[in-house]
């Protein structure tokens, strides 16, 4: 079923409204001149029905056309109160002819729609031009308070007669009453509301693109006010005040809709059809009712699947569905850009990952280089501190076959020093040289001295050295004294002790070739026996 069959005409056009208004006027104007009472009565009755049909048709049209929910509720509520006014008015004249009290209270009830429609019209004026719907702000309900108060005062008029003053016992009340202060308040309230509506409506619409057509609703409003005043002052055969009020309200609102101050949905079909969307609207049977300019290239099976959950028709195209009133809407989402961006993100991510690996490798290389440099420095220091002994070893080895064995023994003594001194340098670099390390160093040197033919004895007193440098200096002094003492040295007694800061090296040597003192070293000789006393300590 096509859209056109569903919607031939959604709005109540001005010509139809005009015909109905004229019909009401003619029926009401002629009923007094018809001789047959049945026909005259029928004319009045028909006029009421046509008026009700007009208001109903317009109300239904509003319900169908107005998109903004708040505006729709306000307008439909206004229509309901207009109908209430018409029913009450007809009931007063036709149904309760015999009871004056009921008639009077029905007359009072005229003021209910008047006092309700005023604040509703204010709301409409303040929301002219709003395209989107929003919930009605609760502050607007405060306007109901004065309206309600005035309605109560009107309905209690029989007790205080401040709205309308009647003759005693309400005699001939409908034609011989005078207005009181409450009636004036009601009128002032309505007039102020009307003025605010006009001013606010003008201010809201003067920035609008449709401001050039602002005169149309203002003209209808002006004509309505003039006609109402005329009818009140002089009376009209064809129309009474309720009808004129209804016509004014309908024409003003309808003209606002027509020129765009109150958004309506009359063009939505065309807008949907002209849009660049790739979408269709289907009814509950799945028949396509409305399609955009780019129709969906999918069949019912695809739509059935999409109705359950969105699915990818192609990697770059997703079909989605959502239920709407009376059916569903289907549309496609072009994911190509998203996929492209995802791809770019993936590439960037992998590039970042590679860069991260490179940075990590560089850091490892730097670490390795630093470590190697450190080791190189250590080796350089070791070479520096053992340079003299290594040169002595080379010299001894180059001496040829003469005293080869003894030279080798001597080399072993030097080699032991080179080895142990290197160890001490490494331990110094690591930051830990213990006092006990002297046992290994001096012990190994003495082991090769014994092989060389020197009688050796070693003793170390338990304790602790202040730092590693004292231990290293002690061993260096020991080696220097030994190298001086060789090759004549025959007996050697070594004693080491520490006071916690300094290391004291005491040596007793027999027949040393040479024994020289120096910084921290004292030498004494007694009957061929040499006594050495050395002190090692302090910083490097």
């Amino acid at each position: 079923m096509s859209w056109k069959k569903w919607h031939a005409n959604d709005d109540l056009s001005f010509p139809i409204m005009a015909v109905m208004i004229v019909m009401i006027g003619v029926l009401q104007a002629t009923d007094d001149f018809v001789a047959d009472l049945k026909v005259a009565f029928l004319f009045g009755f028909l006029a009421q029905l046509v008026l009700v049909a007009l208001v109903l048709s317009w109300g239904i049209s509003i319900q169908v056309r107005i998109v903004a929910k708040d505006m729709r509720y306000v307008l439909v509520t206004s229509v309901a109160f207009l109908l209430f006014w018409l029913v009450v008015r007809y009931a007063k004249y036709a149904f309760f002819n015999y009871d004056e009290t009921i008639r009077r209270y029905l007359w009072y009830a005229y003021y209910i729609p008047q006092l309700v429609i005023s604040p509703l019209s204010l709301y409409i004026a303040f929301h002219l031009g709003c395209v989107s719907s929003r919930p009605v702000n609760r502050k607007w309900f405060l306007l109901a308070i004065p309206s309600l108060l005035l309605v109560v005062l009107i309905f209690t008029n029989d007790f205080h007669q401040l709205a309308f003053r009647f003759r005693p016992h309400f005699e001939d009340w409908s034609s011989t009453y005078a207005h009181g202060p409450i009636f004036s308040i009601v009128m002032v309230y309505n007039i102020i509301a009307l003025l605010i509506e006009v001013i606010v409506g003008y201010l809201r619409c003067r920035v609008s693109s449709s401001r050039k057509k602002l005169w149309i609703p203002l003209l209808f409003l002006f004509l309505g006010v003039v006609l109402n005043w005329y009818e009140y002052a002089y009376g009209l055969d064809s129309f009474n005040m309720p009808e004129l009020f209804c016509f004014t309200f309908i024409l003003v609102i309808e003209s606002c809709i027509d020129i765009g101050f109150i958004p309506s949905n009359t063009q939505y079909r065309e807008l949907f059809e002209q849009s660049d969307l790739c979408a269709v609207i289907v009814d509950k049977e799945g028949d396509v009712i409305l399609s955009s300019r780019q129709p969906l290239p999918f069949d019912r099976e695809d739509m059935r699947r999409a109705a359950e959950k969105p699915f990818l028709v192609t990697p770059d195209l997703r079909l989605t569905s959502m239920p709407v009133s009376g059916g569903s809407v289907f549309w496609t989402d072009d994911l190509s850009q998203i996929n492209r961006l995802n791809g770019e993100l993936s590439d960037i991510s992998s590039q970042l990952s590679e860069e991260h690996e490179l940075i990590t490798a560089n850091a490892s290389m730097e670490e390795l280089r630093a470590s190697l440099e450190k080791k190189q420095l250590l080796l350089d220091r070791i070479n520096n501190v053992t340079d003299k002994e290594i040169r002595s070893i080379r010299s001894l080895l180059d001496d040829g076959e003469k005293d080869k064995k003894r030279n080798l023994m001597h080399v072993c003594v030097l080699e032991a020093y080179v080895k142990r001194r290197s160890n001490l340098e490494i331990l110094l670099d690591a930051g830990y040289v213990s006092y006990g390390e002297l046992d290994y160093c001096i012990g190994e040197s003495l082991q090769y001295l014994k092989a060389y033919g020197v009688n050796c004895s070693y003793k170390r007193k338990e304790g602790s050295a202040g730092n590693g440098f004292a231990v290293v200096k002690c061993y260096e002094q020991f080696e220097r004294i030994i190298e001086d003492a060789l090759p004549g040295l025959t007996d050697l007694l070594v004693h080491v002790e520490s006071d916690g800061k300094l290391v004291f090296l005491k040596m007793v040597m027999e027949h040393p070739t040479k024994a020289t003192g120096g910084e921290g070293v004292s030498i004494s000789t007694d009957e061929g026996t040499t006594y050495v006393m050395a002190v090692a300590g302090g910083e490097q």
Binding site: V87, A91, A94, S209, D283, G326, G327
Partner: protein
């Protein structure tokens, strides 16, 4: 049983007022069925029911006013002699017809794509849409565009304002 013509005037008035209210409801249903292009049976039924109800109200109304309107019409005795309870049941019958009619319309409209369905559809679509005339009058804004406008400009698209064109 009390004839309708002899019932109290208040009761007569209340019954006829209720008749008018129900007639208005029936007319509303009929107009809706015409507007929504419902099946001919609904449209014809609505028109006939409205016509009969209006005619019944007219006859009742005219008949109870007969004492004031001379000469008495030919149909007045018939309607004034109808039992008041029968008139009440007629009223209930029309109420029932109006209710059934309104349920049928509600169900029919619920299964129908309307202009508001188009707006709902536009609101479902995640692409921002704003339609406006050459003069800048905003015709339609969907939710995505409204959210975008509120995020970027602090308020929704409004007619004629600078935001309406952005």
């Amino acid at each position: 049983m009390i004839p309708f013509g002899e019932a109290s005037h208040v009761m007569q008035g209340i019954l006829m007022m209720l008749f008018l209210v129900v007639l208005i409801a029936l007319m509303a249903c009929t107009l809706l069925s015409l507007r929504y292009k419902m099946r001919k049976a609904y449209k014809a039924g609505g028109i006939v029911a409205s016509f009969l109800s209006a005619a019944l109200l007219y006859f009742l109304l005219y008949s109870v006013q007969t004492p004031l309107l001379k000469p008495v019409s030919w149909f007045s005795p018939f309607f004034t002699n109808l039992p008041a309870l029968f008139v009440f049941f007629l009223l209930l019958l029309i109420v029932l017809v109006a209710m059934l009619f309104s349920f049928a319309i509600k169900r029919y409209v619920g299964n129908r794509i309307t202009s508001n369905s188009v707006k709902e559809s536009m609101d479902c679509i995640p692409t921002g849409l704003c339609f406006f005339t050459e003069e800048g009058q905003v015709l339609l804004v969907n939710n995505a565009m409204r959210h975008f406008s509120e995020e970027t400009e602090g308020h929704g698209c409004s007619m004629g304002g600078s935001s309406g064109m952005t």
